[in-house]
Amino acid sequence: TPEHFVKDVDGGIDQDIFDINEALGLDLFEGDIRLDGVQDR
């Protein structure tokens, strides 16, 4: 069969939520939570 002719949208890496946010430089609470003053834990 011809070589597997594909485009990998993940670039071979299984990126979790926190990896994606970290790569964008986000500094959210526990990685993906937007807190406001009232809710600070």
Binding site: H4, V6, D16, I17, I20, L24, L26, G31, Q39
Partner: protein, 650 residues
């Protein structure tokens, strides 16, 4: 692990807005995620029609949410680039519903060890735990399988895991991003007092003798039998694959005991639809003749027909013999109904009959196609290159194939390919906005307990490949030559998907491989209707809006900043601010710079009332004083004080 406080709860039906900024694929995946909530919880979602509080899903930077209902009107939830995986969206919406991450529970250290020196500096606070005064475990044990749990590599500063489970078997379980776990659902349904779901209708594995309330049909020539084995097959049920001694039942129609054309009918209990469309799924085993068939009927009850009207919905013929096989039957029933399974003895010789197990009925859409991969275990690790599905056609007529890669030692990959097909001359190219959803089915007998793994790919007609050609252009133009197993030549377009669909470890877990079969469910839907900037709904205060008035027009709003989360909008060609409001407060002013609240109104009302009272009091006192003075003058000292003797009469 939920935030404590009733004020954080959402209504059971959550209003939402999918902002225009969202990628098309993300919009489709979000709607699929809502279907998972509707199937397994009592949480529903509905387009915003002006309710005070709603969730606005937009393409922000990254994937994030707030915790609980913040009651701020427009509550944002970001599904940015690469966040368009169904379990990521389920995760962020669980935050919005009020759930924290699983490993921040107060009893976390009983179950996992945090390796602090492997955490990136400055990120240690992401691993804090919080006591049961601020978060509630809802009396559910610690859940390694939660969709809300960090993975073992979260915030690591090197290659070693930051979380080590005390039970080693769970090391590769934590951080699953496939679907809700049973405990996720238990907590959510407990927090929101769920007792039913919108789209689940019935599930039956025939383990209980009441056979889920199913009844033998009348007027047929044989009965279905509840068995755990048939000499000519199946040797065991499908639910447990014979793993449980003394259990494992299914229903069997012994076609060898009746003559050709004889039928045995098994009727479901009475069912009450809410959405008007259903998907019936079940496993079927044929050990009779190749010409035996299974007919699916619906007995629909309506005012005029007390016994209901029976309608043939599907005839399942040419049933392969010798193995359990999954079937889906789409239904469209709006009134109270029963499903009827009619086994029919075919003309050929029969040594056994038809058996059914693990029936599931839900008000969801059936997949368009099923790719069954047999003898899967031997393929794992031995297959170099890719495994291709048979060719399928989408409802719009596009021919497509799926490819699976199993040779990578860690991950299995999955890709969607357009291929040359019979309708290509009549179709639009590049292929516009067809969303292909590929689901690796967790074959748990109960649909509510399945944690299937799913990925969606959408054909963006403007997407270009590295060589500048349109990615989703006609396969005969941009595709490669390939051959079907029967030697027929065709052209296969470039596949789009992921090499990290699922790890081999997870693939071997749960019921993804059952009876050495794997099922990939495929749906290719036209989602172009999500692309139009449809007019936004009219909020209840009556001010009509259209998306152009609500959607900021880049030019006018660029230099027009609104304060306090106000939203810039264009109205009558001018940029204006739409200010947030709450139950008892609101922002106002041209830039939403002023804050108002009902407390202010009360103060203003009280003070103005007091002022009016004071003024009236002064006026009254003055008038009394003047009146008395005038009265005194009239009756004044001149008369009273003139002596009488000096008076003269003229």
């Amino acid at each position: 692990n939920s935030i404590i406080g009733e004020n954080y709860r959402w209504p059971h039906t959550i209003p939402y807005v999918l902002e225009d900024s969202l990628e098309m694929n993300a919009k489709g995946v979000i709607l699929n995620a809502f279907e998972r909530y509707r199937l397994k919880t009592c949480i529903d979602f509905k387009p915003w029609t002006g309710e005070a509080n709603f969730i606005s899903v937009f393409k922000g930077s990254g994937c994030w949410s707030s915790i609980g209902n913040k009651r701020v009107g427009n509550q944002s939830l970001s599904i940015g680039e690469n966040c368009d995986r169904i379990a990521t969206i389920q995760h962020e919406f669980l935050h919005a519903l009020g759930f924290w991450h699983e490993q921040s529970r107060s009893d976390r250290d009983d179950y996992v060890n945090i390796i602090w020196d492997r955490i990136q500096s400055g990120k240690e606070n992401n691993f804090n735990i919080y006591d049961d005064q601020v978060s509630d475990t809802l009396n559910v044990p610690y859940d390694y399988t939660s969709v809300m749990h960090y993975s073992k590599t979260a915030f690591r500063n090197g290659t070693e895991p930051t979380i080590v489970t005390r039970i080693p078997d769970f090391m590769d379980v934590i951080g699953q991003r496939m679907d809700f776990s049973d405990s996720d659902l238990l907590k959510l349904n407990r927090l929101y007092n769920c007792s039913s779901s919108l789209s689940f209708m019935d599930s039956c594995n025939f383990e209980l003798e009441n056979v889920c309330g199913m009844i033998q049909g009348s007027g047929d020539s044989a009965d279905w039998q509840r068995l755990s084995q048939v000499p000519s097959g199946p040797e065991s049920d499908h639910s447990n694959m014979g793993q449980c001694a003394g259990a494992g039942f299914f229903m069997h129609f012994n076609s060898s005991a009746v003559s050709t054309g004889a039928m045995a009918v098994l009727e479901s209990r009475t069912l009450y639809p809410k959405r008007g469309f259903q998907c019936l799924q079940f496993y079927l085993y044929n050990s009779g003749s190749g010409s035996d068939q299974l007919n699916i009927y619906i007995r629909e009850y309506s005012a005029g027909s007390e016994n209901g009207t029976v309608t043939l919905v599907e005839e399942i013929k040419d049933i392969p013999t010798g193995s359990w096989q999954l079937y889906h039957v789409p239904l469209k029933v709006a009134n109270k109904f029963r499903v009827l399974f009619g086994g029919v003895r075919g003309a050929g010789a029969s040594l056994g009959g038809l058996s059914i197990d693990d029936i599931n009925l839900s008000e969801t859409r059936c997949p368009h196609h099923i790719w069954r991969i047999r003898n899967f275990t031997q393929l794992m690790g031995s297959l170099d290159g890719a495994l291709y599905s048979p060719p399928f056609y989408s409802p719009k007529g596009y021919a497509f194939q799926i490819s699976l890669t199993l040779s990578n030692p860690t991950n299995a990959g999955i890709y969607f390919h357009l291929i040359s097909g019979a309708n290509d001359d009549q179709l639009e190219w590049p292929c516009p906005w067809q969303q292909a959803t590929m689901t690796l089915l967790d074959q748990n007998p109960d649909i509510r307990q399945r944690m299937s793994n799913q990925r969606s790919v959408t054909t963006d007609p403007l997407l270009t490949d590295d060589d500048g050609s349109y990615f989703w252009d006609r396969p005969s133009k941009v595709g490669q030559e390939a051959l079907f197993p029967n030697g027929t030549q065709f052209r296969r377009g470039k596949g789009r998907g992921t090499s990290a669909f699922i790890t081999h470890e997870r693939l071997k877990s749960r019921d993804f491989i059952k009876g050495d079969d794997v099922y990939i469910l495929l749906t290719v839907e036209d989602i172009s209707h999500l692309n139009t900037t449809a007019p936004q709904p009219v909020p209840t205060n009556g001010t009509p809006t259209t998306s152009t008035s609500t959607a900021p027009t880049p030019g006018l709003c660029v230099n027009f900043a609104c304060e306090n989360d106000g939203v810039c909008t264009v109205w009558n060609g001018k940029a204006e601010c739409r200010c947030p409001s709450g139950d008892d407060w609101w922002y106002m002013g041209a830039r939403c710079e002023k804050r108002g609240s009902t407390r202010d109104t009360i103060v203003i009302t009280a003070s103005s009332t007091a002022a009016v009272f004071a003024v009236m009091l002064v006026v009254t006192l003055l008038s009394v004083y003047c009146t008395r003075r005038r009265y005194r003058q009239k009756t004044g000292p001149s008369t009273a004080e003139v002596p009488v003797e000096n008076e003269h009469v003229f």
